[in-house]
Structure formats: C-alpha cells, structure tokens
C-alpha cells in the first residue's frame, strides 16, 4: 500500500514549482502539480490529497476560488496553505475567512514550509484519530 502523502501544488512559477517538487519529494511526499486554479481543482477532485498548497494570484481561477470550492462545494477539510506575494492584510483575512488553514507570504523559506506541512499533517492525523 502506498502510504506516501499526496500534496497538490498550484503554482504558475515554473522554477519555484520545480524547487518545491524536488524538496517535498525528498521528504517523501507525492507531488501533483497544477499551473492554475482550474487544473488544481481537477487534481483535487481526482486524487483527494492530504494537503493543498496554492498561490493566491493565479490566472482566471484564483487561489481564493480554489479554497472556496474545496470548502464549500467539495466539503473537504483538507488543510490548505496559501502563498501570496501580496502581504496585504485584507487578502490574508479573506483567505482565512474562506477557509485557508495557513498562510505564507512570499518570499518564504522552503524549510519553513516543510515544517508547517509536517505540523498540519500531524494535527490532522490526531484530529482524524479522535473522531
């Protein structure tokens, strides 16, 4: 049985996506890559990942829409980490209002991202076990 945790990453910066893919796969996760919100939603519906990482400003279907879709239409409790170049308070609040779990503003440290992913997955495991 494949116990590797699945992560869906929606990021349109190709080299950043490559870097994160490399780093996260090294940690043992399986990466599913999307270049925009629409692709991300398709991957999420298909694979039901353990964690979703998404940029906010993406063409056409924004990161905020992805979160909204996951929480309201798919009704999933999957942890979602959002990144954005926009450190604006309003964007952050919006993201959390819609249902994001965590937020990292760019530029961010990939090491910190990994720590947060591990923490969220750990918390989720405890949460799932209790219920």
């Amino acid at each position: 049985m494949n116990t590797s945790k699945k992560i869906v990453l929606a990021e349109d910066n190709s080299i950043l996506a490559l870097l994160l893919k490399y780093k996260l796969e090294k940690e043992g996760y399986t990466l599913l890559m999307a270049k925009d919100g629409k692709e991300a939603i398709e991957l999420i519906e298909l694979h039901n990942p353990e964690i979703i990482l998404t940029d906010i400003m993406m063409p056409f279907v924004s990161g905020l829409e992805v979160i909204s879709y996951v929480r309201n239409k798919l009704n999933l409790t999957t942890p979602i980490i959002v990144f954005s170049s926009s450190g604006q308070e309003e964007m952050v609040l919006n993201a959390f209002n819609i249902g994001a779990t965590d937020f990292m503003s760019k530029p961010f440290s990939p090491n910190e991202l990994i720590i947060r992913i591990k923490r969220l997955l750990f918390n989720k495991t405890i949460f799932d076990k209790t219920w």
């Binding site: 925009d36 629409k38 400003m57 993406m58 063409p59 056409f60 924004s62 829409e65 909204s68 954005s84």
Partner: protein
C-alpha cells in the same frame, strides 16, 4: 467661359488637391518620426521597470473597472471572471447591465452567487434609474465584483452610473468584451503615479485585434493573424494609428482621443466635467476633449498619458455591414465632438489643444475623407470632359499608392522592433501583402462609411448605435 480661365481653374483645383495630399503625407511623416523616437525612449525607460513591487502595495491607489454591458449573455460570465483576475491589489469591477433584454443578469447571479444589496448612490451625474438594483457576491472570492442593473440609457449613461457608484479614486472604462491582460492596471496607473510636474487626468491604451487569437480562460494563449482580409487591413490600420500616430500625440500632449475600449481616468475630474455626454455617439473622444478643455480653463498643468504596450484585446468587425456601421458611428462622433467644442479651434487661449490638436483633427480626420471623395469625383468629372493629363495623374497615383504601402511596411517593422506580437512563421509576408491590398479592400469602404456618416449626421437624426454581433471569444473564429 474663356478656355484660359477654365484651364486656370482646373489647374488651381488640381494644385489644391495635390497640396492637400502632400501636406497630409508630411504630417504623417512628422508624426511617424516623433513616434519612432518616443517608442525607442519608452522601451528604454521601461526595460528595467519592476511592476511586481507595486503589485502588492497597500498604498497603490484604488481603481474601479467600469464595464457597461448590453445583451452580452454569450460571454458575460467568462469576461467578468477574466476581469476579476487582474494582477492588481486595490480594485473592483463594476458591471453595469444597461437594461439588457436577455438573461445576462441571471447568468451572473448564478455564476457568482450574487445577492441584491442596498447601496447608497451619490448621483453626481444624472442617469437613468436602477432596474433590478445593485448586487454583490456572498462568496468572498468574488468580493471585488459589483453588478448594477439599470434601465437602458446607452453606453455613456451606463458609464456615468459606474462613475456615480465607484468608491475609488480612478476609473478604468472598458468594453466588457475586451480581454485585459493581467498587468494592464499596473501599467496604466504608472503615469498617474510617476508624474510629478503635472496632473495626469487620463491614460489611454492600445487596442489589439483579437480575431483568430486563442483565448482560453481569460488568458491570451496564442496570437494568430486572421484570414479575413478586412480584419487584416484593420490590424494594419490600428498599428499605424497606435504606433506611429498616438505615440507622437502623447509626446506633444495633444492626444484628443482615448479609445473607448480601454481608458483610465481620474474620477474626480471626470465627474467635475459632468461625466460622459449621453447625447453623442463619440462619448470616448468627447469626454477627453472636455476634460482637457476644463484643465486648460483652470490653468492647471496637466497631461493625458498613453501606454503603448499591448494590454487590451478585442474583436474587430469581420463583415462589411458591421464595419461600415462602426466607421459611420466614429465619423458622427468626431463631427459631434468637434462641433460641440468648436470654441477651442484655432483659439490661442487653449494653447496646443486649440492650435495644433483641434485643427489637425478637423482637417485630417474630419475633412480629409470628404476632400478625398471630392477629389475622386473631380477626377471623374475631368475624365468625362477629357481634361485629364494622364501622365501626371498616373505618375501621381502610383507614387501616392507606393507611399501608403511604404508607410504600412514601416509600421510593421516598428511593431516587430517593439512588441513583436505576431511571432508565427509566414505572418510577415501576409502583413506585407495586406499592406499592398489594404488601399483597395478597406479604404474605399472607410470613405463610403465616412460620407454616409456625414450624410446621416446632417440628414438622418434617428440613427443611433447599431448592433455588434458577438461571436464568442473562446472559439478560434476566423
């Protein structure tokens, strides 16, 4: 009549036409040369601008995109979504549904989870009343969207409603079916923020023709040259006007027109002058002239900026009927605007606006087609009376034709050296071919539409806007 006198009159008239042609050619050349220098300067200046910094700033000024919509049900949901994904932080999108008879509003309500809200409107500019009201989304992801449903009043009236509703400092007035590239607002707001020695009242952009281009999910994926010759001719025409014309006018601060498809305005000044004029069909040109005039009268140093980057892509008419109707409307708009503001013409009180811009527009935009057609009729008259000096006529016509072709090719080269949007193989040759054919394919119809426009303006008061049939931008239509 004495043979000598009639010969003299014929000569004089001929000299007039030739002199006019040469003066027109000279003016195009001057504008082209100034434009080329300006283009180079602009490309240099912008080669190292980092737009990303302003992207996320909390201090970047607030902008409202106002898009009037009338019977746009085919594409409205897609277009709105595209507008919502602009890469700017501080903006909202106001869709003004101008009394559409179709289900545009229902589609929007469904797609964006809209609910009716109560909204206090500052009616600084009188407009037609609301119909269904003001709507906003319950989904925070669409928080930027405001939809207004009102009684039909025309494009100018819808824009004025948008001006009344907007809470922001700047307004971007666009056509709802335009595709705005992601960095459009960033690039357009720059002159407003960068200029320290004068007040920028408006900024105009370049309109690129989207026919046959692949647009998917609101993103311009592929730029193709359409096969339709009429559209190809328009592409050349737009390139000439935008690259070799408006760039110079912007440098001379004499820009009289900002395309109605995409323009950014200082909201306070737009409202101060009374908003758009609902009684004209050329409201985009008219408001700029009025705003400029206002600033001149107030004696405040001002500027109308111009951004040559390709930011706005829209569909151009691909059949003659709609094409002629569009040009007819443009003609009437020009006539109405020039007439309404004739006080500034040749008036030194209005400086370059009155001494250069207005006369140029009057002579080379409004009167030129009439002079040209008169020239043609005169030529026919001469043929009938066997008074044509064929050697002269023929040599002259050939030269004039070659000049237009040459000018078009210089335009194409300028485009290649600046924005190079048409990358595919073979397009270069196709564009050159178009340069040779355009004088026969487009130009006569433009003349016809212009004359008809004049005729309609003076004798046919009932005509209004005309329809534009939507084809749907997602299909690669040819």
């Amino acid at each position: 009549m004495n043979l000598n006198t009639s010969g003299l009159i014929i000569d004089l008239i001929q000299y007039f036409f030739i002199a006019f042609t040469f003066s027109a050619i000279l003016s195009y050349l001057i504008l082209a040369i100034i434009s080329i220098f300006e283009n180079r300067h602009y490309m240099k200046k912008n080669s190292f601008v980092n737009y990303k910094d302003i992207l996320s700033s909390t201090i970047s000024p607030s902008i409202s995109i106002i898009a009037p919509a009338y019977n746009e049900t085919l594409n409205i949901v897609e277009n709105v979504r595209s507008l919502l994904s602009n890469h700017y932080v501080n903006y909202d999108v106001i869709i003004v549904n101008d009394g559409s008879k179709d289900d545009s509003l229902e589609k929007l309500i469904k797609a964006y989870d809209l609910v009716k809200i109560d909204y206090v409107i500052n009616n600084q500019i009188p407009t037609k009343p609301l119909r269904e009201g003001v709507f906003k989304s319950t989904n925070p992801a669409f928080e930027k969207l405001i939809v207004v449903d009102k009684e039909n009043g025309g494009k100018a009236d819808a824009l004025n409603t948008g001006l009344n509703i907007s809470p922001n400092k700047y307004v971007a007035c666009i056509d709802v079916d335009c595709l705005l590239l992601e960095e459009s607002l960033l690039k357009m707001i720059k002159p407003f923020l960068e200029t320290t020695d004068s007040k920028v009242i408006a900024a105009g952009g370049v309109i690129r023709i989207a026919n046959s281009c692949i647009i998917k999910d609101g993103k311009l994926l592929d730029v193709n040259l359409p096969t339709n010759m009429l559209v190809r001719g328009q592409i050349l025409e737009y390139l000439r006007a935008f690259l070799l014309g408006r760039m110079a006018w912007s440098k001379l601060n004499g820009l009289l027109v900002i395309s109605g498809a995409f323009g950014l305005f200082d909201k306070k000044i737009a409202i101060e002058v009374g908003g758009y004029d609902t009684k004209t069909v050329g409201e985009d040109m008219e408001i700029i002239v009025r705003m400029r005039r206002h600033m001149e009268e107030q004696k405040i140093k001002y500027k109308v900026a111009y951004i040559p980057d390709p930011l706005c892509w829209t569909e151009a008419p691909d059949n003659y009927k709609i094409f002629i109707s569009q040009r007819n409307r443009w003609t009437r708009g020009t006539i109405e605007t020039l007439k309404k503001h004739k006080k500034i013409g040749f008036n030194p009180k209005y400086k370059s606006l009155g001494i250069i811009s207005y006369p140029y527009w009057l002579i080379y935009e409004r009167l030129a087609p009439i002079i040209e057609v008169t020239g043609v009729l005169y030529f026919i008259f001469l043929i009938v009376n066997n008074a044509v000096k064929w050697d002269y006529a023929f040599a002259f016509l050939v030269l004039a034709y070659l000049f237009t072709v040459l000018f078009s090719i210089i335009t194409i080269i300028t485009e290649e050296l600046t924005y190079h949007q048409y990358k595919k193989k073979g397009i270069g040759l196709q564009l050159i071919t178009t340069a040779f054919l355009e004088p026969f394919i487009n130009h006569p119809f433009i003349l016809y539409a212009n004359i008809k426009g004049n005729f309609d303006y003076y004798f046919n008061k009932d005509i209004k806007w005309g329809e534009m049939v939507r084809k749907g931008m997602n299909k690669a239509s040819d």
